[in-house]
Each structure stands twice: as structure tokens, then as C-alpha cells.
Amino acid sequence: MKITQLQPGWTAVAALLAAVAAGSSVLFAAGADPGDVLAAVVRGAFGDLYAVGETLTRATPLLLAGLAVALGFRAGVLNIGAEGQIMAGAAAAVAVGLHMGGVPAPIAAAATLAAAACGGAAAASVAAWLRYRRSVPEVLSTILLNFVLLNLSSWLVRGPLQEAARAYPQSDRIAAEAMLPQLAPPTRLHAGFLLALAAAGCCYLLLFRTALGLRLRAVGLGVQAARFAGFEPAKVAFFATSMSGALAGTAGGVEVAGLTGRLYGDLSGGIGYVAIAVALLGRLHPLGIVAAAIVFGALESSAAEMQRSAGVSAAVAQVIEATALMGLLAADFAAKRASRSGATAESAAEEPA
């Protein structure tokens, strides 16, 4: 069976295996034993409770941001501004969370996360407005807004939101009531992971079990067909962009309320870009994205173990991530070519009506 005939879900797995193979040959060339390294990866990611906790902790923002990217892509909105929207969400979460002292814990946490979602949605809505009122391609506006939002947050932690002590460029800790409960101390795993899983479930239901989801996917697959269906593509895409921003913002909020408690200038640390890889590797399917986020979370959490026990630079984890994505794009390309010749076959081979 040719790789081009694999089902879309399988191409993702094949790409991942190819990436591991490619990564191993790089390691081999560098003089390390690939077997040792792989064992270190598995041990570092799933070896004990702490490792599992760390893997899932790292998967949490990737999952939320991956869902954000996927929801946009499904509606034909190429939102690559998750990075900036994460920061917008984190900043909003801190701004609200700081004032939650004395509020009952569940309400405080909910308000903090709601603020994060609103912050992300607001940031994405700027891009949506530019797209649907002023015809600025969202690919450009979202990536440019990343620079704006990242610099804005770095100004915030040096200005209005800087800690009272004014020592470091960071905010004060948000109120303890606003923090998410820890799930399995001493690991860092927090309730944000459950929230992310629930978000994946909701995205699945939205996309595949509601009329709105059908509209959204229709707009993503063909604007003209959606227009003839009376779906008003601009409105649907506007909604998808805001939802996408809200999910990315929540990813930032969860990082704050679950882990850091504070806002830093580099809190997002590239999660918003890795999320694009997660969304694509997960085939833009919420359940696939759960798997992809855990795989990427595992790679990141095992980087340290890899360095310690196999003596390989942590950067190798990033190499494998990048190779997986490139392998996936190659597999996509091959699959598309195969289906294109299949499409010619449909028009060429006779089939009685």
C-alpha cells in the first residue's frame, strides 16, 4: 500500500513515525544512541507520575491553542495569531485575577478565565474586523497583531501591571482564590487540563453536532456554496475568529491561573506557533488535537530527561516537532496529488448516473 493511499488520520501517524526515524538518524549521526534517546523520551514523558503530570501540564495550553487554530482553519480563517491572543488572554486574566481576593474560589477562577477568553476574543476580533470590513487578509493582520500584543504585554509588566515591588518585569501574583486547583500534587498538573479536555469535547459537538458547526465548516470548505445556502459567510467567519481568539485567550488564562500566577513578557513562549503544528497534526479534529497536544507535550517535558540521561541537547525535541510537521505537510501534499488524479478519474472514467 502506497503512503498516498493512507487515510488522513493515518498520514498524521505516519508523519510522526517518519519524524522519529529522521530524528533518530540525526542523533545517530551526532554520535548518540537513538535507542537510548527514545527510551529517555518515553521515560521523561511517561516514566512516573511526575513525568505524566508534566506532560499533561505542557499539553494543556497546546490543546487549547490548538483547538483555537483548528476552529479558525475549519471556517477558512487562517488565524495564526494565537501567540498574541494567548498574551491578551493572560493579561486580561491577571488584570481581573488581581482583584479577586475575598471572592469565593470557583467564582473567582471562572471570572479570571472568562476575562482571559474575552481578552483573546477581543484581540482576534480586531483581525476579524479588519478582514470583513476592510478586506485585510487575516494571515497578515493576525501575525502583525502578534508583535503588537507581545510588546503591549511587555509594556504592561513594566508599567500598569508591574508588581508592587517594582523589582522585575512581571505582575504581582493573582489572588489565591482565582488560582485553579491542583490535580495531583506534587506534579504541576492543574484543573486547566480538564478544562482543555472539556473544550475539546465542546468543539467536537459544536463542529459536528450543531447547525452552527455545519455552517462554519461549509464556509471553510466553500464560500460560494455557503453563500448560495444563505449562510452569510462573513458573519460565520467573524464568529469563528472570535471563538478562536477566545480559546487562545483561555490558553493564556489557564497558564496564569494554573501555573505562573503572574504575567511575564514571554509567558506565551511560542505556544501559539506550536499550536498551529498541533492543530495540523491533529487533522483539525478536536479529538486528534487532544492526541497531538499530548504528543507535543511529551516531547517538551522529556527534553530535560533527554539532555540529562542521553546527553542530547533539548533542542532535539524541537527538531522532532519540526520534522513531524514537515513530514505531515509532505504526506498532505502526496495525498492531495493522489486524490487529484483520483478526481480526474472521476471525470474521466464512465459512471452511469
Partner: protein, 489 residues
């Protein structure tokens, strides 16, 4: 013998597109290649032009075995192709497009390019109009003439024309057929791919009929019996649809007055169109594509703002078969059930609280499969797994599910084979027979003449006519003139 093809075979995903096809072509002759959609014509043209690799079989060129692996190999032999959809660069002028095809010097001179086009055009008797006009400003017919000039700007032994008449007005068709005859007389071998018999018989010395990937008949055109060829093409006799008598009771369902749209992009705005559609009536709009068809359909279904008035029986309204099935009619990646709900009203009906259970989609698909005899792998199949005819049945099923009082059917049989087209026609006639009104928009004059009670010609955004059915020869001639943009009495 210029070209001899022996037992050409090509299969896609195990389905044979061409099975054991052999034929030969002599210089100074023309071969008409006819067959329904999907009979293998495009595959054969692809093999000869180097874009498709056969699975088996041999090609001989002047007695020697040749392998045409890429378009450049075909070009080196002197095989020129005029594709179905032109490949001109819109922003470039006629002269630039032609010069681009025939090889440019390092510093091309405008005057030289222009002179070359004019000389070529005069020699071939093909008028491309102003050689300095950008190609995007030209009509489809003119663009095709430029494409032919492009092909013939280099020494040509064999010319492949892939369904060249589909987009032309009757006058342009007869001009094109005359060019084919002249080329043949000058020693070029011409292959004319077509699905209209009378055109092939008029222009070709021999005709070959393809059916389901096989060459089922090959004969000299002189004295050929069109009915026999037609049977060979389809495999059985095809009943032509019977138009129901014009309704006696004239209840107006759709009344359009002074419909005018604004200019938008490259389209042609509608210019004060006035017409009405009665219950049980089919009103046809024929005309070359790009004369306001898209605008008319979009204005009638409410997707385009307009001046004037469109009044329709409000309780049921209009539903449409959109002009472009693949871009507007349905989504190839959606399942049948999802495509059947690709409509605001139907979707709201199926999901009153927003929840759309998978069973609703599957039930709708199953119902459509049995009601419209759709051939599909199963009720969950994606639209891309269906043939064009079955896809169009989904579009029709969806339009009829709204129980509209008026059906806008735009290009309803485009790209469908004879049988599929016949079943689409039956649905349209049945809808009209049950008291619905139909607006039939089609560039196919034969289709309009067979179905419509009244015919308008769409030309540069204006409706000319009406012509009452049945259309006699004088009416057909007047329609042809109007389609070409001319005046008629």
C-alpha cells in the same frame, strides 16, 4: 500515416477510463471524437498531449514508436492543443499571449509581436480583434480564437480541439468549423472532441465514438446516419423530454420588473429586465455565459442587491440549482446529508434548537437516495464519491425540499451525460407539471428549445424576446443572432 495509437489503456483507481483504444490519424484529415461525459475523451486528449500517461499501448508517429511523457514531447512532434478552458494570461494582450507561446526573443518588440499576430490571423482567417487588447477584456469566443492562434503560431502537424464549441454562439460555431475544414485542407490533422453530433458530421472526415472507455464505432462521416451514431454514443435510444402543454390558467408566480443591478467586478450588470413566470410554466434564458446569467440567478435568490422589483409568492419563495455545481451547488467534502442541509431554511427546520443529530442527516440522505434514485456507496458517502449526475440530483433534491413555488435552474445539466441530463430534465418537467414555475438558465440552446415554453436571450445584461415555443427555424436563427449580440427584427 501520421499517428497510430494501438490498444491504449488507462485506469484510475482500478476504474478503466480507456480500455484498448486503437485508432489512426492521417495528415489532411479530421477525426471527430464523440462520446458522453466520462466516455474517455479527455483521457485520450491527455495522452496525446502528454499530460496523462497511458498504462499500456503504443503510439506511432510517422511509423516510429514514440513516448509522449510530457507536454513538451507532444509539442516537439508538432501536436498542438486547444484546451477546453483557455489558458491565456488575462492581463497580457492578444499579441503578447501569442508571442509567449511561440517563443520570445530576449527583448521582444511590441510592433513585431503585433505584426506576427496580424499576419497569422489573416493567413488562418481567424479574427482575434484588437491585438493590443488585454485578453481578460475579450469574449469567450474571441479568447478561444486567440488560443487557436497561439497553438498554430508554431509549425503544426496535429491540432487537438477539446470541446471547443461548448462556449460559442451558433455563428461562432460555424466559423470554427470552417477553420477546422481549412486547416484540414492545408494538411494538418485535426482531432475535434465534441459531444454534439451535427458539428462533428459537418467538420470531420471521420468520426469515432467512445463509450465507457472503448471505441465502439468508427466510420466515414459522409453518409453517416446521425441516429445510428447517437445510439452508439449512449448505448440505447434516448427519449427526448416532452414539454407539458403551456398552462391554460395563468397564475403569475414570479413577476420581475425593471430588474437592474450595479456593475460589480468583471460581471455584466442586468439592464432593466422585465418578465414573469406563471404556474406550470418554464421560462428559458439562453445566451453565452457571462452575459448576466450569474447576476440574474443571484438577484432572483436574494444574494445580490438590485433596483426594480422581484415579486414572488412569499409563502414558498424560490429555490435554486446554482450555475456552478462544484463551487456553488455543493461541497465535495461534505456528506450527502450535510449537502442536503446546505440551505438556511432547511437547516433551521432540521435543527430548530441548533442541535443537528447525525441521524437527521442520514435519514435525509436515505430519503433522497430512494426518491431520486441516487447511486451512492451509502447514506454517509461524501459528495465527492458520487458522479456528477448523482451530485446534481442532491442539489435538485435540496432545492425541491424547500417546496418552492419557483425553481431557478441554472446550467442544470452542465457536465452531465445524456442519461443523467434526461433524468434532471424529467425532474424539472415534473416540477412544472405539478404547478411550479421554472426559470431555466442555460447556454445550451437545444436544452432550452426542448424544455421552455417561452425563451428570452440574455445578451449583455438585457433580456431579448420572448420567443414562444415551439421554436421554428426563424426563431432559432433570431435567437442565434441575439446571442451573438446582434439585433433582430
Amino acid at each position: 500515416m501520421l499517428l497510430r495509437a494501438q490498444s491504449l489503456r488507462k485506469a484510475y483507481n482500478g476504474r478503466a477510463a480507456l480500455a484498448d483504444v486503437s485508432f489512426s490519424l492521417e495528415a489532411g484529415t479530421s477525426l471527430g471524437l464523440i462520446g458522453e461525459n466520462g466516455a474517455g475523451k479527455s483521457t485520450l486528449v491527455g495522452i496525446l498531449s502528454g499530460t496523462v500517461q497511458p498504462d499500456g499501448g503504443t503510439l506511432e508517429w510517422e511509423g516510429k514508436n514514440v513516448h509522449i511523457r510530457k507536454p513538451r514531447d507532444a509539442a516537439a512532434l508538432g501536436i498542438r492543443v486547444v484546451p477546453q478552458h483557455d489558458s491565456l494570461i488575462g492581463r497580457f494582450t492578444v499579441a503578447e499571449n501569442v508571442a509567449l507561446a511561440s517563443g520570445l526573443p530576449a527583448f521582444p518588440r511590441r510592433a513585431e509581436m503585433r505584426a506576427r499576430v496580424c499576419a497569422l490571423a489573416a493567413e488562418l482567417g481567424l479574427d482575434p480583434g484588437d491585438p493590443d487588447a488585454p485578453c481578460e477584456s475579450l469574449s469567450v469566443g474571441t479568447r478561444q480564437r486567440v488560443e487557436i492562434l497561439k497553438a498554430l503560431s508554431r509549425p503544426t502537424r496535429c491540432l487537438l480541439l477539446d470541446e471547443p464549441t461548448a462556449v460559442l454562439t451558433p455563428a461562432e460555431v460555424s466559423d470554427l468549423l470552417a477553420v477546422v475544414r481549412r486547416l484540414r485542407e492545408s494538411g494538418v490533422a485535426v482531432v475535434l472532441v465534441d459531444h454534439k453530433l451535427h458539428e462533428v458530421i459537418e467538420a470531420c472526415t471521420r468520426v469515432a465514438v467512445l463509450r465507457r472507455g472503448r471505441l465502439v464505432k468508427e466510420l466515414i462521416t459522409e453518409g453517416a446516419d446521425p441516429a445510428e451514431l447517437s445510439r452508439a454514443m449512449v448505448g440505447h435510444a434516448v427519449e427526448s423530454p416532452k414539454r407539458p402543454p403551456a398552462p391554460a390558467q395563468r397564475k403569475v408566480l414570479l413577476e420581475v420588473q425593471q430588474l437592474t443591478t450595479a456593475r460589480e467586478g468583471a460581471g455584466v450588470p442586468l439592464d432593466s429586465m422585465t418578465f414573469h413566470v406563471c404556474s406550470g410554466e418554464i421560462v428559458g434564458f439562453c445566451g453565452v455565459d457571462g452575459n448576466g446569467q450569474q447576476e440574474l440567478v443571484e438577484a432572483l435568490v436574494g444574494l445580490r442587491s438590485f433596483a426594480g422589483s422581484v415579486r414572488c409568492d412569499r409563502t414558498h419563495g424560490v429555490a435554486a440549482i446554482p450555475p456552478d455545481r462544484r463551487a456553488e451547488g455543493l461541497l465535495a467534502g461534505f456528506s450527502m446529508g450535510e449537502n442536503l442541509h446546505l440551505d438556511r431554511i432547511l437547516l433551521d427546520r432540521a435543527a430548530p434548537r441548533g442541535w443537528l443529530p447525525p441521524s437527521a442527516l442520514r435519514d435525509a440522505a436515505a430519503a433522497a437516495i430512494s426518491r431520486f434514485a441516487i447511486r451512492a456507496p451509502g447514506p454517509d458517502a461524501a459528495a465527492r464519491e458520487l458522479s456528477g449526475g448523482n451530485q446534481q440530483k442532491i442539489v435538485i433534491a435540496r432545492a425541491l425540499a424547500r417546496q418552492p413555488s419557483v425553481l431557478i435552474a441554472a446550467n442544470p445539466t452542465r457536465g452531465l451525460d445524456v442519461d443523467a441530463a434526461a433524468s434532471v430534465h424529467r425532474e424539472i418537467l415534473q416540477f412544472a407539471g405539478n404547478g411550479g414555475g421554472v426559470v431555466l438558465v442555460s447556454p445550451d440552446l437545444d436544452e432550452i428549445a426542448a424544455l421552455a415554453h417561452r425563451v428570452f436571450v440574455l445578451s449583455r445584461g438585457k433580456a431579448r424576446g420572448p420567443f414562444e415555443a415551439p421554436l421554428d427555424e426563424r426563431a432559432i436563427a433570431a435567437i442565434g443572432t441575439a446571442m451573438a449580440g446582434g439585433e433582430f427584427e
